[in-house]
Symmetry: none
Subunit: 214 residues, 4 copies
DNA sequence: TATGAATGAGTCTTCATTCAT
DNA sequence: TATGAATGAAGACTCATTCAT
């Protein structure tokens, strides 16, 4: 894989090869340390061709982020059937999420680790994806609240924070699972689901922890 | 701020100034993008002096990580009174944690974002700090389990994953809070506490979510 | 001379130009004082190209040493006809040696002066060349001994010292001739030949100088 | 030795300590690679003191060369008794020379190797010493010529070349002996004496090697 | 479509040297 | 006599990027 330097391919194919290589290198080394030389070599192409198709290192990185973000959200979407109940939908989404991040560790590294480490051009790309996922979760939280017949007005801030906490926990777990051999996506999703759904349930049922006045 | 080039200070003082500057720059730009020139200038010192005292960019970064990791764990430790009940200790720890990360956003950025993005010299430093915090959380989880009179043997894997999820959620929340104006440490800690304690409680009480067979 | 910055040459040609320039600069200034900037400028090339082709200052210096050592030994070999008698072969070898060092004074400076002043990567390269020359001389000495019908066993140490002295004398003479205007290779070779062959002859004939007991 | 940092010594003593250290370091590393830091540390003194006493790296190196050149010529002079015959004087001089270079290898390295590798300030210092030694040798050669009742007019060039060859051979032998364990000064002097005196004798007796016309 | 040849700009790092005490 | 604190200047090396074919 890579370096084969097969000649004369249609542009679309070559571009995908380049993105494949770039995701590997960016994911392994990080944006700054990755060199265009290394990427071109792994793609089996000369450097000028990379520039011809992808314009610049920044654009190349952005393209990687976009492609992988789309792939990840698409994987989650594809894993969820809208006609099933909310808890089942959360479960399916988590499973799809952890399965995808486990199958594409470098892509996950690009999205979660490296894209957020460098300023504005890139952070925005990831933010968009994250927003989509947070929206998905938030929808489920709202349903849970409704089903719990609860006064629907949790403070906005708290809902936002809650979603952030859930998504953050999932993200951390994905990274941890990739670094920990022998953990399956199913197990990770189980941990997350137990923890989250139960916690949410309690919360929705109005049982909140409040510090005793000192 | 910085660049005041006050003359002739004892070494210990200058070293701290340099570390202050380095944490700012590393936190804002990341390890690779930060330049020793910029750090020296912000510290109000010439570059050779930075090298004389801190040896190399790598050593400087390591020194930053170590100092800030120590400061953070110390802040948490100082915030927790060992004679109080477990939930209160968790609350106090979270409060101290979020307060510290909010007051030192660049330091948090160094620890959580940048130190983990670059290979082994640095990751290990953070891992040590994280281990300490995870141990703290794990202890509290164990107490909660005992108090719930529950069969104490949650599977090892699950406990590890659980702690990871909790800590990951807290880390994500800290980062999110730093990027979201107007959120106080108290609010963040509240969100986290509700989420975590309730979820844990349910879990300990043996109420687990299980996917229905398809 | 140099700096003409002719454009777009095949790699092999450029590499020779760079080595030419490097030999000049290294020979004039020495390894440490020579700067890659100066070498690149004299080669009429940008510095990165030098690094692209020759990798590092060390590798560049090594490449110089190797090329010039090969050129010198080749010049000596080409000057000697194996079918001629030993004295004539020594004469021809000396003539070729002094002619070459006189025509390439910087190269000689690199080999004899600068390469030996710096540690192991370089010393070894020159040692190989020297070994070849010493072997050439030793062979002739052996023939001389045989022709003198002499008991062939000069002590090993003495032979080694002898060869060292002969080669050392020739090396010194080459350096001296390069620093002394108006001395031809022929003259230098004559001095050396008289000195060496006569001394050897006596030695072979068993006439040795022994200090009188005090 | 070195680093003891004993306090308050008279200037003359401190200067010698510094020169001792400098000769070691310069001899081992060469002029450019030697650092004032290292020299000061080995001398057991702070760097500003070195500058106070010796002014600059150049001056320090020059002082080393001068001191060691004087020591070497003095050693040779002290070894030779002017009332003895010429061959005996040559023998004694060689013995003293090789003994001294063997006892002070770093000094010899400074004089023969490093001082000649760097431009004019230093080469001149060594040249002076060399001139003295060459003069010594030339005197002996002249005596030998006279004793051989030979027509006294060897061409000037040839005499100069001859002396150069002799001295060069001796220098090479000294360096070689220092790098070759187990060789005594006596042996080295013996090799040199046999070779040189016999060769000279033949030469003086008018037996010269002349290339046959091709 | 594709590439070998080439570079401007910038970074880390080191060192001889001086100031203030 | 002696030194801790500090720096200007320079050098090796790398990389994203482009030109000419």
């Amino acid at each position: 894989m890579g370096g084969a330097r097969t000649k004369r391919m249609p542009r679309a194919v070559r571009e995908q090869q380049m993105l494949d290589a770039a995701v590997q290198i960016f994911g392994r080394r990080g944006y700054m340390v990755a060199s265009m030389d290394e990427i071109a070599e792994l793609a089996g192409v000369s450097k000028p061709l990379v520039y011809l198709y992808l314009n610049s290192k920044e654009d190349l990185f952005t393209a990687c982020i976009r492609r992988e973000a789309a792939a990840l959200t698409e994987a989650v979407r594809a894993g969820v059937r809208p006609d099933l109940p909310a808890d089942r939908r959360l479960w399916d989404g988590l499973l799809a999420f952890f399965a995808h991040t486990a199958e594409h560790p470098e892509a996950w590294s690009v999205l979660h680790l490296h894209a957020r480490t460098h300023g504005e051009p890139f952070a925005a790309e990831v933010a968009a994806m994250r927003a989509e996922i947070v929206a998905f979760v938030t929808r489920l939280v709202a349903i849970a609240a409704r089903e719990a017949h609860q006064d629907p007005d949790l403070p906005e801030d708290e809902v936002a924070g809650l979603a952030e906490a859930l998504v953050g926990a999932a993200e951390s777990l994905a990274t941890w699972a990739n670094a920990t051999p022998g953990v399956t996506a199913r197990q990770t999703a189980g941990t997350m689901m137990n923890f989250a759904w139960a916690g949410l349930g309690n919360l929705m049922a109005g049982q909140r922890w409040v510090p005793e006045p000192t």
